[in-house]
Symmetry: C2
DNA sequence: CGCTGAGTTGAGTTTGGTCAACAGTCGTGG
DNA sequence: CCACGACTGTTGACCAAACTCAACTCAGCG
């Protein structure tokens, strides 16, 4: 299985056009993305459809809630948050998205984006125009199945988020989140004990269904308990076993891949 | 648009085989289900694939978490809950499902059911073997698109659940739930002010991320406020405007279709 | 008719929210 | 380069919403 060969730096200093234009075939995220179950010839055709995009800066919107859906996006580098905005103006953070993850599936229901996606740091994506993907899917059973597989994974991921939000204590929530993020780092071949949180405390608190002060206190407590070393957004997990205990048995049999 | 012609009774007194065998074409839920965007000829072929199932009794499992995925199920009558079980034994209620809704999409990610579905009352479903659906989808663009549409709707529905779980007060949560359920009744051509809750207080509390006592107190409070008339599982909404206020502005532009 | 389980109500406790002060970091511009 | 201001994050004191525990009511059922 092909994955990113080394830890991606937190910020991409120079992402040149040649880098942007490399094909799906050579993309290091290859195995994590859409083409996962597609034959070699088909992959070449898919290459023609999927285009790299100019990088986004921190705070840039990849798409906004309410806008017309046209493409699915694959995160290539950096990270994103997806949020739901309510009439009152408050927003709910739905997830944080790392390289290899696909954004936009919620819009397939009626061709309108139902949430917004915002870059948390300098980031780049691949753009997969859905009309062409769909057309292509007619002839490629593997792609058809893969699209549903990814949509379904989205559902599974949300179910895990719901489980975390349902009657869990603050410290369990944070522990579950950190454990899950660590696992995703592992999947990306990044050091699982060294987390570089791309989101603010406020965004994290919102995702966890807590206020920022509570999250802050939990980080302090975890440090006192000898579970973490915390330096602003750099988190080092020093005791995985203890972190698992703090997360409770609030897990399913299989580790989550996304958050 | 064809939908159920009259309010379905809470319990089905006699569901004979003839009833069970009626085709998708004549199914009153027609417009709500899989075939929604499929041509007349194709619908006939789909009929050959989808089969009605023997009815389930309260407490019966339609499918269990961890078992092999084979079919999608369409609720014909009655209702279901889906739940996630964690290692500790506690469970999280993910949703309640009324006629016309499709169950099993979370299993498309790896062909294993990731949650369990249990009948809340006497209920019946249609069974759509996925292998055949998928094969069929190769030739019918409408079905292919529709499958993704439904999977996506599942995601949107979960996002609404997450929004409700994130930092909302107990009374807001219950109000949001009741309003959404009322809307779903309306979609089914049932009286939107007269709710027959098929779930126990315990199950409802779990879904809302609360304890049963809190839910009970909220029902009492809503009754005192003149918003509801509560008689065990019969709920009558007597003041929709006030219910909307209690739900806060915690809603999106479009009403939820599922829960 | 009593048993069981579901639901309600009350009293007391606790977790996490609110409000406020403070510290540290970053970016801007003199 | 440093000074300033804005912003993010941390900490403390206090408060309240929801949880826990317990008693009690009611409906359904053998």
């Amino acid at each position: 299985m092909l994955v990113v060969p080394r830890a991606a730096p937190a910020s991409i200093p120079s992402l040149d056009l040649a880098e942007l234009r490399r094909s799906c075939r050579s993309c290091a995220l290859h195995a994590l993305c859409l083409p996962a179950s597609i034959s070699s010839e088909d992959l070449t055709s898919l290459d023609a459809i999927v285009r790299a995009r100019r990088p986004l800066n921190r705070g840039d919107l990849l798409f906004a809630s309410g806008t017309r859906f046209q493409s699915l996006f694959v995160v290539r580098s950096g990270s994103f948050k997806t949020t739901l905005e309510m009439n009152s103006g408050e927003q709910q953070v739905l997830g944080f998205h790392l390289p290899g993850e696909i954004l936009g599936f919620d819009a397939l229901s009626d061709d309108v984006h139902r949430c917004s996606a915002e870059a948390l740091e300098r980031a780049s994506v691949c753009d997969a125009p859905f009309a062409q993907i769909d057309e292509f899917a007619a002839n490629v059973p593997g792609l058809r199945r893969q699209l549903l597989r990814i949509a379904s994974r989205e559902v599974v991921k949300d179910h895990e988020h719901l489980m975390m939000m349902g009657r869990r204590q603050a410290q369990e929530r944070l522990a579950i989140f950190l454990r899950s993020l660590s696992q995703r780092y592992r999947n990306l071949q990044r050091a699982p004990e060294l987390l570089e949180l791309p989101m603010s405390r406020h965004e994290l608190a919102n995702y966890l269904g807590l206020v920022v002060e509570t999250v802050s206190r939990m980080f302090t407590r975890f440090e006192e308990l000898g579970v973490l070393r915390v330096n602003r957004k750099q988190i080092r997990i020093v005791n995985f076993a203890r972190l698992d205990e703090l997360a409770g048995d609030a897990s399913q049999d299989i580790e989550s891949e996304a958050c």
